[in-house]
């Protein structure tokens, strides 16, 4: 248990906490979240784009009432932009001031120059030693985009929750942050890092859960439209596409259809708005027209056969 004490005590309360922030999780994900909260270990989420990995971090921060510190990874992300940097301009001025006031004790100047006063705190340092003293939620987003050296650096941070600044010494977190790491698998995350985390593979949800997710996120949409959208997207996921639509796309599509004033799917509308669902030209070309019509007909048959509510 962390000192902040507001960590939910069971899988059920994690489910509640997530649902309270409009995040519909299944029990398996809630178990992984619960374990990572109670045992203070990072949570590694993998899955296709648009299944709600990043959202887990954001929602946890809101639900726990903690600050969200987000580190977006990219290739070449280094210590200077992820952890800390010295404020060279101010150090320069400090040297000039020392010179002007006749200060000659070099070791003393050096001590002053490399003190916390001149340290620019980047996300990871801020997560270890938050300025407000409350352990935040640290979201390390798309770790697969960072390169291997950075991943190796994270190992020390994530196992001991400490950061070494050569000029200052080792800074240790009084209370470890809640860490959520996401990866889209454009590169395999190393085994050593995986071992330190609880792992969960976020899959595309089944129709019932996706319906609930979209309903919660777009509450103003008509029930009939929601059912059609979800059934259509679920059908699309069985087609061989280069990039399958995620839940984020279902939500966007529903909003787009609402904005166009549609409360029912029709062939022409699907063709016009397909770009919201599919993000590659070959995929759009493949579905547009005949295939979309066929899928829509299939969806209508399916919904007519099993009218719900």
């Amino acid at each position: 248990m962390t000192e902040s004490g507001n960590v939910p005590g069971s899988v059920d309360s994690v489910l509640e906490l997530l649902a309270g922030q409009s995040y519909i999780a299944d029990r398996a994900l809630a178990t992984a979240v619960h374990l990572s909260l109670t045992l203070n270990r990072p949570l590694l989420l993998e899955g296709e784009a648009g299944v709600g990995k990043t959202e887990v971090g954001k929602v946890l921060a809101k639900g726990l009432g903690r600050r969200l510190i987000r580190l977006q990874c990219y290739e070449g992300l280094d210590v200077a932009s992820a952890v800390y940097e010295w404020d060279y301009a101010r150090q320069m001025i400090e040297i000039r001031l020392a010179e002007a006031s006749g200060q000659t004790d070099r070791s003393r100047i050096e001590r002053d120059l490399f003190s916390e006063k001149f340290l620019i705190r980047r996300p990871l340092l801020e997560a270890i030693q938050p300025s407000d003293g409350i352990a935040p939620v640290l979201l390390i987003d798309e770790l697969d985009r960072a390169d291997e050296p950075f991943e190796a650096f994270l190992l020390e941070l994530l196992s001991d929750f400490q950061i070494t600044v050569p000029e200052l010494g080792t800074l240790k977190a009084e209370e470890p942050p809640v860490v959520v790491i996401t990866s889209n698998r454009t590169r395999e995350i190393h085994d050593a890092l995986r071992r330190r985390c609880f792992y969960y593979w976020l899959d595309y949800p089944d129709a019932a859960r996706e319906l609930e997710i979209v309903r919660v996120r777009v509450p103003e949409a008509a029930a009939s439209l929601l059912r059609q959208v979800v059934a259509f997207v679920q059908q699309l996921r069985s087609v061989e596409l280069f990039k399958l639509p995620g839940v984020a796309e279902s939500i966007d599509w529903t909003r787009a259809l609402m904005a166009l004033g549609k409360d029912e799917l029709d062939g022409a509308t699907i063709d016009e708005t397909l770009g919201v669902l599919l993000k590659y030209e070959d995929d759009v070309g493949r579905i547009r027209g005949a295939q979309a019509q066929a899928t829509l007909a299939e969806v209508q048959r399916e919904l007519a056969a099993a009218p719900s509510e």
């Binding site: 069971s10 899988v11 029990r27 398996a28 178990t31 992984a32 619960h34 374990l35 990572s36 109670t38 045992l39 590694l44 993998e46 899955g47 990219y74 290739e75 070449g76 992300l77 280094d78 010295w86 060279y88 150090q91 320069m92 040297i95 020392a98 010179e99 070099r106 100047i109 050096e110 120059l113 697969d144 985009r145 390169d147 291997e148 050296p149 889209n184 698998r185 454009t186 590169r187 395999e188 085994d191 995986r194 071992r195 985390c197 609880f198 792992y199 969960y200 593979w201 061989e240 280069f242 070959d282």
Partner: protein, 408 residues
């Protein structure tokens, strides 16, 4: 409800079963699994399952193995682990090699390919079939002769000199330099403190570069049989020489052999390849293999600026699918596509084959090799300056013009 010690003992044995089935579980992980269980309601089967899952399954690919092993083990948790493992292996033929969902899909496809009589499978049976694929296709295995030490030395020597025809990538990381570059403030500051405060000696740094990642797609069909041994030697040496080399072999299907080729010992690597890859010296289905690659691997291995080295004669026997479309997609995903074609052993070769015509517009760099009988020739075909190197990406789309030049 068994007592806690009994439960811990069973969980430990379940961990041993999973280790036998190929999951990476050390004693530390076993303890973590038990710790995780103490945080959930163990009498709830789902919580029990998912807590162990979160603690032990660290890769998407391991989920199926975990599910099967869980089902088998907890039915009668007191049977000896070895017996359960045997049953698991017999059922699903899980080798210690990791099984990916892709490979399972491949099984199902293979089933279709074989035009086997189809019938409805019970759900349980279907699972087993999905896992058991190694005996679905009975295909050739390949025996490589052992490498002589002279051959090994030659490979190492050539690789050391080898230049991949793609420029190094500039990274966003810095390295200190003595000449001019950008000012390195951190080192400058330290130096000025050492030297005295009245002057500030500048220190410099420069962006680091790194060699580009390479994804090799190598044709091992019958028409390439004469080169296979040498190509594999080359790919093995390449995999051991640098980071970020992924290797795929294809004939009628695509196999990711990256892990096998990383074995230091070339004979071990070759033996594993010979046993694992089943479509040696057969037909070629370039477009369906490329499609598999595009859908299942390209996003995972072509990120971070990797280039593709495609080694094939372009003789496609695939009548289905669009080879041109797949090549175009491949080119859009990769930084550069370098095609090495050993077919040009005849000087008067003309690109008549349909496959070659479809592929040529979508490569950035076309390297015909008139004579690809040795590693030496291979390295120089790839590394030398004589190949066609269209300056930019856009002009690279029409490498076909250069073919006639090469054939002259």
């Amino acid at each position: 409800m068994p007592s806690e010690t009994v439960l811990a003992e069973r969980v430990t044995r379940f961990g041993r079963l999973l280790r036998g089935a190929g999951l990476k579980l050390g004693p530390g992980q076993i303890l973590e699994g038990i710790e995780a269980l103490s945080e959930v309601v163990v009498t709830d089967r789902r919580e029990f399952y998912w807590a162990l899952h979160a603690a032990w399954v660290k890769r998407g690919e391991d989920r199926d193995v975990f599910r099967e092993a869980f089902r088998l083990f907890w039915r009668q948790p007191d049977r000896p682990v070895n017996r359960v493992l045997e049953e698991l292996l017999a059922l699903s033929r899980i080798t210690p090699e990791r099984r990916s969902p892709q490979s399972q899909k491949r099984v199902l496809d293979a089933l279709d390919d074989e035009k086997r009589p189809k019938r409805e499978l019970r759900a349980e049976e279907a699972d087993v079939v999905r896992l058991a694929f190694s005996d679905v296709e009975v295909l050739r295995q390949k025996d490589f002769e052992q490498m002589s030490s002279a051959e090994l030395r030659e490979a190492q020597r050539l690789i050391a000199r080898f230049r991949f025809p793609v420029r190094d990538l500039q990274t966003r990381r810095w390295t200190p330099v003595t000449g001019r570059g950008a000012i390195d403030m951190r080192r400058t500051m330290r130096a000025s403190l050492r030297q005295g405060l009245d002057h500030i000696p500048l220190r410099w740094r420069r962006r680091k570069t790194r060699p580009p990642g390479i994804v090799a797609l190598c044709d091992i069909s019958g028409s390439m049989a004469g080169y296979t041994r040498m190509l594999i030697r080359f790919l093995h040496a390449l995999s051991n020489d640098r980071e970020q080399v992924h290797t795929f072999l294809f004939g009628t299907r695509l196999s990711n052999v990256t892990r096998a080729l990383r074995h230091r010992d070339v004979d071990v690597a070759l033996a594993e390849l010979g046993a694992r890859v089943r479509d040696w010296d057969g037909g070629t289905r370039i477009s369906s293999c490329l499609r598999r690659f595009n859908r299942e691997w390209s996003r995972r291995v072509l990120a971070q600026g990797a280039s593709v080295l495609l080694i094939t004669d372009g003789l496609d026997r695939d009548e289905t699918g669009s080879l041109e479309g797949e090549m175009a997609r491949l080119q859009r995903s990769a930084r550069r596509v370098v095609w090495l074609n050993p077919l040009l052993r005849y000087a008067d070769f003309q690109p008549q084959a349909r496959g070659i015509r479809a592929m040529l517009p979508h490569v950035d760099d076309f390297r015909p090799a008139h004579n690809l009988v040795s590693l030496e020739a291979l390295a120089s075909a790839l590394g030398g300056q004589h190949g066609q190197r269209p300056a930019g990406r856009t002009s690279g789309r029409s490498a076909s013009a250069s073919l006639s030049a090469a054939a002259e």
